[in-house]
Amino acid sequence: MMRVIVRRLLQLPLILLVIYTLTLTLAWAVPGNPLERGERRPAPEVEAAMKARYKLDSFWGFYWSYMENASGVKWVRDGLSGKAAAEASKAEGLGVAPPVRRVFDLGPSLQYEDWRVNEVLAGSLPVSVTIGGAAMLIAIVIGVGAGVVGAVRPNSVADFGTLLVALVGVSLPSFVTGTVLLLIFSVWLGWLPVAEWGTLRALILPSFTLSLPFAAYIARLTRMGMIEVLRSDYIRTARAKGVSERSVVLKHALKNAFLPVLSYLGPATAMAMTGSFVVERVFSVPGIGQHFVNAVLNKDLFMIIGVVLVFSTMLVMFNLAVDVLYRWVDPRIE
């Protein structure tokens, strides 16, 4: 098991390098000028200065300098060459705090020049992880519950009911469910806050909205798995032994029926935790999802690559976690 984990972790930098190259190539090819904002076009002098500042004049120039900064090579070099120390002593002489040095420096945001991509991600990732985490918890509870009910009594009213709810959950886009929930619970009833972040109350609506499609999918997976498992021999044996139905379903069947759900949970958690543009917008949640969309719309190269690298890392890590869990649930897997 340790070997698997170590091997996967060693693969990570290689995967990131390939993703970085692909992302930059694509982002670079997108038409549009990343230095332009809105109606106004920068004067030629301003554009030239900004291109020089951000190394936007040549693809390879940008490619290498970004890699140097993001991989930590620059950090080591500045530390060894004394440049970092010189900067710090200069700032000290002027009586102000020196610029922060980061090992993996993902560069500045082109759209929000005062911010480094590291800071933007450090601020928004915990928010998305929280909402995504809460959404997954809700999704698992609702999804597995509904799936088990549906499987135990297939084609019953309860089954059709959960089927219907699942269908709605998957098909209704979250800007509809979100807006309706916001309208009911915040505007009409006034129970839950709007445009706030940092309290448990503020977490309820966005995470519930985000959980719905996942819950629906989990319900379908659980139901399918359960129906299959409930027909298998060892369940019949268990029943023949006189094990209570409750124990058969929840102890014997669910554990095996959960395997497809488990393999779905890896990418699903990564997806939920890297934010949803729509849910974040509707509830004014300061998460990471908005950066995905805005960075591309604005052709904010540093932000695009930063977000993609973080997402890729999370995806690899969650898949690894799922593999580990898999072995734990089903020891037959090598």
Binding site: E39, E45, V96, V127
Partner: protein
């Protein structure tokens, strides 16, 4: 077990990331600031924040219809008889938020930074009105090019430092801007600039704290350029000289300001704390206001805002007599809503803005595909302009209180400027003109393509324009909708036939709207090239008498409308949302320069606690 980990993460983050106590005033300012690096700012939203945290030599009196100037860091100023030499006297009680005095040298440093080709301001062209400034920028640009070429990619720290020292000497020699002593700033301009004080009140002309900026700049040994970072603008690092200091800034969440104890005019600051919140979704922004989370939304963009404006108008209509009496008396629109009985519908404030929505024609002789361009002929352009029914677009398509306009410079927004008559809506005349140009009944005319970007309702305006042109002129029109970035590229390459456009003025002079049609200007998407128009702008530049100068500019606008490289459609409206009985300090002036430190919640016991009203015209001009 993994579920427990998830739960722990969720609760852990919540425990750490607690929201702050609500500020005295919470403002939605149309998204987060894109930068607070004063040299770099150019957006209205950013300017509003800069003018709350910093202060320039002077400020605009935003409650004066003439937009007069009041002292800022300069307690007084003089201009020589030739209109070119200005002397500013910095007040003795000026201070940065760390207590250090603001000096004349701080202004020299800040403006030099904007002039350097390494760290240019978007308004470098305006800074170059100072004598010798353009020569300085050009000199350093040439030197940097030579440096990069000579070095061939090698690091040369000594040479870079030497060039930097020479640059400082050159600046002192060339640029006629001097700190005579710590409290006296003298500058000589290339020519008399009647709006110079307005520029001094403009945020990119504000000072920055030198040691802080220096620590975040370094010389690049390969290119010889100053490499600048902008992340010194964040608390607790940031040092400013204005009414507020920045205490917290969470990206795209909240910016928190508190009254600065070092600001000279601190008694006039309306609140102890102010928060700029961010709500990206435009409908959620209205909900946030309704639930009381926000006091002032500076940009109401909700999908149903037209309905809200109609309700506002219906409410005014219910008190028609009282409103008419106040309008006659010269009372400003915000004060009118305050004096009427409280009504939720009056929390919406549609006010004409300092911006114009228009359509561009490609004025080049050939179209991008090589065909002859019929819009090269001014008669054709004028005909198309006359065929547009502006009132229909403003009243039936937009419905948000936009003012239909046949002129480019928004009427009544600049003191002393009389707008020309404007392009009339005259389909009959338009048809005659088009026939004269060789296209009777639109016969033989190319298929007109209208290029515009998605969102913001540009599509339905384009539909209305298409209907006018097809119905009145007999030409065929197709609509081309693209992503904003791609539209911008097409415009830059003049790869379009007709496109939608807009412009918001920067300073209180017609030039801010006219300049963008000068031949060779970076924002001349139309590729309009008229020596007569350029000559009028030059003549205005050389004219010392302000009234005669404005008259020349009026003639320039007249010529522009006659030549019609663009079709003005309407004057923008800016829709604010706040309770006029509770909040004061919002300026109804069409320049929409909001001084956030003037915002005052009436009844909270903080600030001067008086309702601010626009001065009546007769009071303002004694």
């Amino acid at each position: 077990m993994p579920l427990a980990v998830l739960l722990a993460i969720v609760l852990g983050v919540l425990a750490v990331d607690k929201p702050r106590k609500r500020a005295d005033v919470v403002v939605l300012n149309g998204g987060d600031a894109s930068t607070l690096d004063v040299t770099r700012v150019s957006w209205q939203q950013d300017n509003r924040i800069v003018s709350s945290l910093w202060e320039g030599l002077v400020r605009n009196d935003v409650f004066d219809p003439a937009f007069g100037k009041i002292p800022g860091m300069a307690e007084r100023w003089e201009v020589a008889a030739d209109g070119k030499t200005w002397t500013f006297h910095i007040r003795a009680d000026s201070a940065w938020s760390n207590g250090a005095p603001v000096t004349a040298g701080d202004f020299v440093f800040s403006w030099q930074r904007g002039l350097l080709p390494d760290t240019p301001s978007d308004y470098q062209g305006q800074l170059q009105l100072i004598k010798g400034a353009r020569a300085f920028t050009d000199w350093r640009t040439a030197k940097l090019e030579a440096f990069a070429k000579d070095g061939g990619g090698k690091a040369r720290p000594q040479e870079a430092a030497a060039l930097w020292e020479e640059t400082q000497r050159r600046f002192a020699e060339l640029v006629q801007m001097k700190a005579v002593d710590d409290r006296t700033l003298v500058m000589e301009l290339e020519r008399p600039v009647p709006y110079w004080l307005d520029l001094c009140a403009f945020e990119p002309f504000y000072p920055i704290y030198r040691p802080l900026v220096d620590a975040y700049q370094s010389l690049n040994p390969v290119t010889g350029r100053v490499d600048a970072r902008s992340d010194w603008t964040r608390p607790p690092l940031l040092i400013t000289n204005g009414p507020f200091k920045l205490v917290d800034w969470k990206f795209k969440r909240e910016m928190r300001m508190e009254k600065s104890e070092h600001y000279w005019n601190r008694d006039k600051v309306g609140t102890d704390s102010l928060a700029i919140a961010v709500v990206d979704d435009r409908n959620a922004a209205v909900v946030a206001y309704q639930t009381g989370a926000v006091d002032f939304n500076t940009d109401l963009l909700a999908d149903y805002r037209a309905e809200m404006v109609q309700q506002y108008r219906a409410c005014l209509a219910e008190h028609a007599d009282a409103v008419a009496a106040m309008v006659k008396d010269g009372v400003d629109p915000i004060t009118i809503t305050r004096r009427l009985p409280p009504d939720k519908r009056l929390h919406v404030h549609p006010l004409p803005a300092f911006g114009t929505y228009f359509y561009n024609f490609n004025c080049l002789p050939k179209l991008p595909d090589g065909r002859d361009n019929p819009f090269f002929d001014p008669r054709v352009r004028r005909a198309f302009s006359m065929a547009v029914d502006r009132s229909n677009i403003a009243d039936n398509v937009r419905r948000c209180g936009e003012v239909p306009s046949g002129v480019l410079v928004p009427r009544g927004s600049i003191d002393g400027y009389t707008s020309p008559a404007g392009v009339p809506h005259d389909p009959e005349g338009a048809r005659k003109l088009l026939a004269e140009a060789g296209y009777p009944g639109g016969k033989g005319f190319i298929t007109v393509e209208i290029l515009f970007n998605r969102d913001m309702g540009h599509d339905i305006i384009a539909e209305a324009v298409k209907k006018d042109w097809e119905g009145q002129l007999g030409v065929s029109v197709v609509l081309k909708q693209k992503e904003i970035k791609i539209v911008r590229e097409d415009l830059k390459k003049h790869d379009f036939i007709v496109s939608r456009g807009s412009w918001f003025g920067d300073y209180g002079d017609p030039l801010t709207f006219l300049e963008i049609s000068r031949s060779g200007d970076g924002n001349n998407d139309r590729a309009y090239n008229s020596p007569a128009f350029d000559a009028l702008l030059d003549a205005a530049g050389a004219e010392a008498d302000p009234a005669r100068r404005l008259d020349i500019l009026r003639r320039a606008e007249e010529l522009l409308l006659e030549d019609s490289p663009l079709v003005p459609v309407y004057q923008y409206v800016e829709i604010y949302m706040f309770d006029p009985q509770k909040l004061t300090g919002v300026s109804p002036h069409p320049r929409h320069k909001q001084q956030l430190f003037m915002l005052d919640v009436i009844g909270d016991g903080k600030g001067p606690e008086v309702f601010r009203e626009m001065k009546r015209t007769q009071e303002a001009r004694p």
